[in-house]
Every structure is written in C-alpha cells, then in structure tokens.
Amino acid sequence: MMEKAKSPRIAYGEALLELGEKDEKVVVLDADLAHATQTAMFAEKFKNRFFNVGIAEQNLMGLAAGLALSGFIPFASTFAVFGAGRAFEQIRNTICYPNSLNVKIAVTHAGITVGEDGGSHQAVEDISLMRSLPGMTVIVPCDAVETKKAVFAASKIKGPVYIRIARPVAPVITNEDDCFIPGKANVIRKGRDVTLFAAGLMVAKALEAAEILDGNGISASVINIHTIKPLDVETVLREAGSTGRAITIEEHSIIGGLGSAIAEVLIEKMPVKMKRIGINDLFGQSGTPDELLKHYGLTAEHIVSAVNEML
C-alpha cells in the first residue's frame, strides 16, 4: 500500500536498519546529527557498528575511508552542506582519489527545503561538487520509497556513492515495485510537446505541472533523473529528441547540477530548445520549505509558465 507522504530522511533511517540486518559489513558514521539524519535508528540496533564521530566532518570522511579499506561498507552521514561542502577535499583525496573507496556518503537536509535554518545550512551546490569527482556516483532520490531503493542499490555498487536526501515530508510518487537501477532514468509520463527532466523533490512538481499543462492541451513528458552521474545519456537524448524541447528542474543551483549535466549532453549531441529551472546563482534563506520553493521559482506554476514561454 502506497503511503501518501513521508520524509525521505525517515526512509533513509529505516533502509539502513534493514540493510544492517542483511549485511554485517555495513557500518554507519554520523557527525552529531544522528537524530536529524535518522541514523539513530541504526545506532540503537547495531551499537557496535555505529560511530558518532562528533562534530568533525573531515574526520568523518577519513574514518569512513579507513573502514572501507578494512573491508566494511561505511555509510557516512551528515547534512549535505557539511558533507559535500566542508569535507569536499577529504571526499576527493581520501575517498575518490585513492582507489574509489567503497564509502557511501548519504547526506540529508539537501537544498532549500531545509527551511528555517536558512542559507548557511542549505546546500545548493553539492551536486555540482560531487559530480565533478571521477568515479563518484550521484543519486538524488525523488521520494521516500525511492530513497530506500537508493540505499540498497548504493550498498551493491563498488565505489563511492553520494546520496542526496531531502528533509521535509514529501509526496510519495513512486511505487514499491517500480524499477530502480542506478544510472537508468525512469520515464514516468510520456508527452509530445515538451520533456521535463527533474530530480529529487522536483519530480513531484514536474508531475503536477504536467497535469496542469494537460488541462491546457499541452502534453509533457516527465523523466525522473534519479542518478545524475552516471547520467542516462541514451534516455536523455531519446526523450529530449522526441519533443525537441527540454526543461530541467532541480532544487539546486542551475550551475553544475542536473541542468548542467543535461545541457552538456544535448549541446554536444543534439541541441534542442532548453531551459534550466533551479536556484539562479543565489544562496538560500530562512522560511518554510513551501515559501522558499515559491520564492525561488520551484513550483508547478513556475514550470508551467516556463513551458508556455518556450512553446
């Protein structure tokens, strides 16, 4: 039975708990945010496989690297801004550069939907940073159900994986039995006039926009790009090609994230009309998640007007 709305981070905590039962090589590290990232569920059940390293994100990544070198599958968790941002060079030099070590960097509180904590805590550049690292897989699940699948899939990938998890309660738009293969985009709606490529919480917004457009006689495809890297180039080309119009929607800067990744492919292989929707080279600020999404233009209505402008 599909739940209507659930926070992806809760799903993350539950997934770890389940994974911990199945695979004793899984260890979890957190940097004093276990109750926010939800790793506390795992901590309670598997005390000896959980390490709270304190407020020390650089050491978090280094310890995870050392545990990976010892044959474990470490999940290192903190907020996106501290993981991808503060510990960027540790991820680069002690996880990716050495030998694509088997560390899963699962961060929560990504994007502006962090809300009231404000811009200092809202990572809007993390995908860009992580995507630029050789050997890194970057997954942005769109809802709670997909988050759980992403955690299990990541544990099977040999090498570093960055999983970007949202904080707020969000609509569940995928089903338990939907296929989830890292690197393979999911076409969730087929249209003729425009293709909406979305990631994370923006997939739900794109679907909402497609419904509105449908009512206006415009037919939109919606593609869930849950894996930003490696990007499913084949699906991107096919789906952008079939409508000749591409719009990307992400809860991230328009610089370096999903929009950039898709633009890189289209500009070289098949230029089509394109528009990137995201944070326009700005930092976030305090507010409720919904207020912020509206303020920064990440709503279905905004997507609809972008489509109308393009047609």
């Binding site: 260890v27 020390a56 050491n59 010892s70």
Partner: protein, 271 residues
C-alpha cells in the same frame, strides 16, 4: 637485530633519496631524509608484513600522512622487495608507479594514498577501528609531520583515536621542527608538544628519531591499556647531508648535479 646492517640500509636509502629527487628534478629531500631510520626500523624489524603479498589481510599497515616524504618510503619498499629497485629512478615521471605523493593504486606496499596534509591520520584511525571491529590483531602506524599538526583534522582524528581507545594505533611524529616557511615556532608553534599530547590522553614516548635501537624498542613496547601510542621522534630535517641538515630551504628544493654528487659522497656512495 643487526644494527650495522640496518645502518647500512639507512645509508643506502639516503643515497636513493638524493638520486631519485635529483633525477626527478623535483621532490622533498629534507623531510624524506628525516624519516629514514623510522621507516627502516618499521619495515625491517617492527611491522608484520609479507612483501610478496602486499594485500595480506593480517599485515600491519603504515599510513605516511606526511606524504611528501615518500621517496624514503619508496626506497624502503623497493629494498624490502615490494617492487624492483630500478623503478626508483622513475619517481615523479609520467606513467611511473612512483607518484609525487603516495598512491595506493599504483605502488605495491602503499596502504593508503596520502599527500594532502592532515588527512592520513583519520584514515589510519579508521583502519584501527576496522581491525578492532574484525577482532584482528594487526597494528596501524601513522607518520605525521610537525607542520602537519597545524591542520585541524589531525586534532579531530587524535580525539577520535583516544575516544575509541585505539591501542592498536601508533602515531609517529617526525619532529624535525621545520616547515616550508620556516621553523614551526615561527610559523605556528606546537607549544610543549610532549605535555600537550600527554594531556590529550596518549601513551607518549619521546625518542631520538635517528637512533634505530631506541626506535625499535619504542615501537615494540606495548601501549598502555586502551591508549593509542604517540611517539615523538626528534629528527633532523635533511639528516645525513651536511648542507641540507636543519635548512628550511631544503624542504622542497632539488639538488643540482654538483649537489647530488657532493651529497652522495657524504653518504658513502661511489661516484
């Protein structure tokens, strides 16, 4: 232990360092030369290793967090048989297995890639944690530089190694007192490092970093129950080459042909 034999190896390693850096026309002679006795003691007398099986799961591990000292480590690994000695002169050349800083993908015997200062100790602590989790008895050695101690991450890792009671971890401070821009005390003082480390909660030992017997005894002595060991090895930067000893300028400077020749003669080499 045959002290004379080990001393001869140290002299050979020093000559290798000079030759390698001379041929590469780049590298860090000062902080490589200060490490020699530490590495020879570890790889010849202290560590439980199988050079013919570098990935042997039960081996002791070494993380050279001050990765720029790798010419010394490469020479020791070659003489221990991890790879052919004729590879040494390929240091820092395109396609070489011997990168400018340690690269575990390319060099047999390198347990962790390092080079960006401050990061190796966290990896070593993670390995020590991993050994405990697997109920394995192997030991982890991590060599850090004194300038490197200015990196905040070193202190994060030290705190964690004490918190997790990593008595299978030995941190070795190559205390040559100099860094690129000058003496530690002029750049950013470490203060009374022995007292600081004791207060931090380590099992602290201070030793002459060029006294092989003393080093071996210190490394082999079991650490106090539940405490990681912190060995302050007092060393001389540029040790063994008169014009490099205690000279800040030889941190990352390459000797020219004339200087290479002079250094090799001092180190007992035949030209």
């Amino acid at each position: 232990m045959n002290l004379k034999h080990l001393q001869d190896i140290c002299a050979t390693v020093r000559r290798d360092i000079i030759t390698m850096i001379g041929k590469a026309n780049s590298g860090h002679p000062g902080g490589s030369l200060s490490l020699v006795e530490i590495l020879v003691s570890l790889y010849y007398e202290v560590m439980n290793i199988k050079p013919e099986d570098p990935q042997w799961e039960d081996r002791d591990r070494l993380v050279l967090s001050k990765g720029h000292g790798c010419p010394a480590l490469y020479s020791v690994l070659a003489h221990r048989g991890y790879f052919e000695k004729d590879k040494l002169i390929t240091l820092r050349k395109l396609g070489s297995i011997l990168q400018g800083h340690p690269d575990m993908k390319k060099t047999p015997g390198i347990d962790a890639s390092t080079g960006s200062l401050g990061q190796g100790l966290s990896v070593a602590a993670g390995m020590a944690l991993g050994a405990k989790l697997k109920n394995k008895n192997y030991k982890i050695f991590c060599i850090i530089g004194d300038g490197e101690m200015q990196e905040g991450q070193i202190w994060e890792a030290m705190m964690a190694s004490i918190h997790y009671k990593l008595d299978n971890l030995t941190i070795i401070l190559d205390h040559n007192r100099l860094q690129i821009d000058g003496p530690n005390d002029a750049v950013m003082s470490l203060g009374h490092i022995t007292e600081r480390m004791k207060a931090f909660g380590f099992d602290v030992c201070e030793v002459d970093g060029h006294d092989i017997e003393a080093l071996i005894n210190t490394f082999c002595r079991p650490s106090s129950q539940g405490k990681p060991k912190f060995v302050i090895a007092n060393t001389v930067k540029g040790k063994g080459v008169s014009f490099m000893e205690n000279q800040v300028g030889w941190h990352g400077k390459t000797p020219n042909a004339e200087e290479v020749k002079k250094a090799l003669i001092e180190l007992g080499g035949e030209i």
